[in-house]
C-alpha cells in the first residue's frame, strides 16, 4: 500500500546521490591505480634489470627501466593499463560467444553463482529456522555445521564432482552445489543471531497472543532479522562466487572465470590472471551492490528511519 509512495522519494533522491557517491569512488580508485603503478615498478624492476643485462644493455636510464617494467610480457605484477587493455579486448572486442571472451566465462561463473547463492541462502535460512526452533537441532546440528565449514572445499570438491559425475549429475549443478556449500554458512550464522534478536518484550507480546511458532517466525523473528539477513547475504554472495570459481577447477577446467584463472596460472600469463581477477571482483561488487539495493528497498518498505 505504501509501496508506491515509499519508493518514490528514494527514486527522486537517486540522481544527486549517485553523483554524490561517484566522485569518492573515482578518487579512491585513482589512488589505488596510482599505488598499483608504484607497486608494479617496484615488483617488476629486479626481473627487468636481469633482462636488460642479458640483452647486454647496461646503460639503460631510469625512465627506460620504468617504461619496460610496466610493459613486461610476464610481469610479477602487471601494470593497470596492461590489465585494462586485456580486459577491454577480452570483454568488448571479443564476441561474447567466443571462448576467449571474459563475458562468456563470466556468464558461466555467474549462472552457477546465482544458483548456488539462491540455494545457499534458502538452505541457510531453513537451517537457522530449524536451529532456533529446536533444541535438538541447535545442540546436535550446529557443531557439525561448523565442522563442515572447516573442511577445505578444494580438497573434497574433486571427489564431490567425481561422485556426482558418476551418478550422472554434470554441468551447472555440481558447481552450484559447491557455491551453496560455501554460501549457506554465513547465512545460517547470521540468521541464527537475527532470528534470536527480537527484544524480550516483543516475544512476550507474541506469547500473550499464544501465537504459533510459524506466526512468531513470520510476524516477528523474520522481520527483525532482516538487517542480519542482508549483511549475511552480502558475505554469502561473495562466498558463492568464490565457490563457483573453486567448483570450476575440478570439472576439468572447461569454462568460467576459474578456468581462466587456472589456465592463466599454468602458463604464467599474469595479465590474464589479473583481468580474470578484475572480472571476478567487478562481478562480486555488482552482486553485492545488488544485494545492498535490495536491502535499501526492503528496509524502506519496512518503514525504517531514513
Amino acid at each position: 500500500m505504501s509501496a508506491a509512495t515509499a519508493v518514490k522519494p528514494l527514486g527522486a533522491r537517486k540522481a544527486p546521490a549517485f553523483l554524490h557517491n561517484v566522485v569518492p569512488v573515482l578518487v579512491v580508485a585513482a589512488a589505488i591505480v596510482a599505488l598499483w603503478y608504484v607497486g608494479a615498478v617496484l615488483l617488476n624492476a629486479p626481473q627487468q634489470r636481469d633482462a636488460f643485462e642479458r640483452a647486454g644493455n647496461s646503460t639503460y636510464t631510469a625512465a627506460e627501466l620504468v617504461e619496460a617494467t610496466l610493459n613486461q610480457k610476464r610481469p610479477v605484477l602487471p601494470s593497470p593499463h596492461q590489465v585494462a587493455e586485456d580486459f577491454w579486448t577480452s570483454t568488448v572486442l571479443t564476441s561474447p560467444t567466443s571462448k576467449r571472451s571474459l563475458v562468456y566465462h563470466g556468464w558461466v561463473t555467474l549462472s552457477s553463482t546465482l544458483l548456488g547463492f539462491a540455494a545457499g541462502t534458502l538452505f541457510g535460512v531453513a537451517l537457522a529456522i530449524l536451529i532456533v526452533h529446536s533444541a535438538v537441532m541447535d545442540k546436535s546440528l550446529m557443531p557439525w555445521i561448523i565442522a563442515s565449514q572447516t573442511i577445505p572445499i578444494l580438497a573434497i570438491a574433486p571427489m564431490i564432482i567425481v561422485v556426482l559425475n558418476a551418478v550422472g549429475i554434470t554441468g551447472l549443478l555440481p558447481k552450484a552445489l559447491i557455491s551453496m556449500y560455501l554460501s549457506f554458512f554465513p547465512v545460517t550464522v547470521g540468521m541464527v543471531k537475527g532470528l534470536r534478536a527480537p527484544d524480550v518484550i516483543n516475544l512476550d507480546l507474541m506469547r500473550t497472543y499464544s501465537a504459533t511458532q510459524p506466526q512468531v517466525l513470520w510476524k516477528l523473528r523474520l522481520p527483525s532479522s532482516v538487517p542480519f539477513l542482508f549483511t549475511s547475504m552480502k558475505v554469502a554472495i561473495a562466498a558463492s562466487l568464490v565457490g563457483a570459481i573453486v567448483g570450476e577447477l575440478p570439472t576439468g577446467v572447461v569454462a568460467g572465470l576459474g578456468a581462466r584463472l587456472l589456465s592463466g596460472s599454468y602458463y604464467g600469463q599474469t595479465v590474464q590472471i589479473w583481468s580474470a581477477l578484475v572480472a571476478a571482483s567487478l562481478l562480486a561488487a555488482a552482486l553485492v551492490a545488488l544485494v545492498s539495493l535490495a536491502e535499501k528497498i526492503v528496509l524502506a518498505r519496512m518503514g525504517a528511519r531514513p
Binding site: 566465462h105 575440478p250 577446467v253 578456468a259 581462466r260 589456465s263 592463466g264 596460472s265 604464467g268
Partner: protein, 305 residues
Amino acid sequence: ADSVTLQLKWVTQAQFDGYYVAKAKGYYDEAGLDVTLKPGGPDIAPEQVIAGGGADVIVDWIAAALSARDKGLPLVNIAQPFAHSGLMLTCLKSSGIKTSEDFKGKTLGVWFFGNELPFYAWMKQLGLPTEGGADGVTVIKQAFNVDPLLQKQADCISTMNYNEYNQVLEAGIPADDLVVFKYDDVGVSLLEDGLYVMEDSLKDPAFVDKMAKFVKASMKGFDYAAANPEEAAEIILDNDDTGAQTMEHQVSMAKEIAKLTEGSDGTLDMGKYEQSVKILLDAGVISKEPEGAYTTAVTDKAKAM
C-alpha cells in the same frame, strides 16, 4: 557406435594431441567408436574418476596408477603411447649449478601429487638429504607454472620438456642460461602418459576389442600429429574451452611430444616398466611387487588389426 570415455591427466594441450587428432580426423569414427575426451587438471585424480565410473579408460602416470592398485583399485596398463619421459629439472646457470654435485644448499621446486617420486629417487641416488640445510637441498612444492624460477624463488624447478621448459624460454631466458637434468638420462624416470583401465572390465572380450580399436586409432592420431604439428596445434586450440592456449606454444609442444611418442606403437616397454616398479618399491609407494598390473592383450590385438 561403441562409446568410450577417456579421462585425460591434464588440461587440453598438445600433450594429448594424438587423441584430439584421432577424434578430429575421424579415426575413431572409422573404428566405430564414439569417443568423449574429458580434460583434466591439477585437481583431478584420473584414478578417482575411473573408480567412480566417470571414465572407461584414463591417461595416467605409472606412479599414481600402481599406488592406486596397491591401495585396492585394480588399474591395469593396456598401452603406453609415451615411450620416453619428458620430466626434467631445469636450473638457472646463475645459481652456480653445473652438475648434480652442485645441488647442496640449493632450493629445488618439485611437483608433488604423486609426481615427486623420481625426484626423491634421484636424491637418494645422489645421497642428498632433502630436509634443507647446507648439506642437503630445500624442497618446495611447486605449483603449475615456472614463476619460481623466473623470480629466483628456486634455483631449479621441475619442467616437462614439452611444456614448462618452453615457457621458460618464452619468458626470455635463453637456453644458454639454463642447465637441464633429464630424469630419463639419470635412469630414475618413471613411465608417463599410459592408458589404464579397471581390471574387471578386461574380462569382457568385447571391451578388450573396443580398447584395441581405441589404442590403434589413437596411435594413428599420434603419428599424424607428429607429422603435422601445426595442424595438431590448431585442433588443440579448437578444443580448448578456456581460450587460454596459444598457437606458438602448442606447436612447440606438439613437436616435443612427437619425440616422446617416437617409435611407440603403444606397446609397454618391459625394461622401463621394471625400472619404474623398482623405484616405486624402493620409495615405499607400493608395498609389494604388483601382479597383473599390465596386459599386452590390447596392444597385441591392436597390432593384429
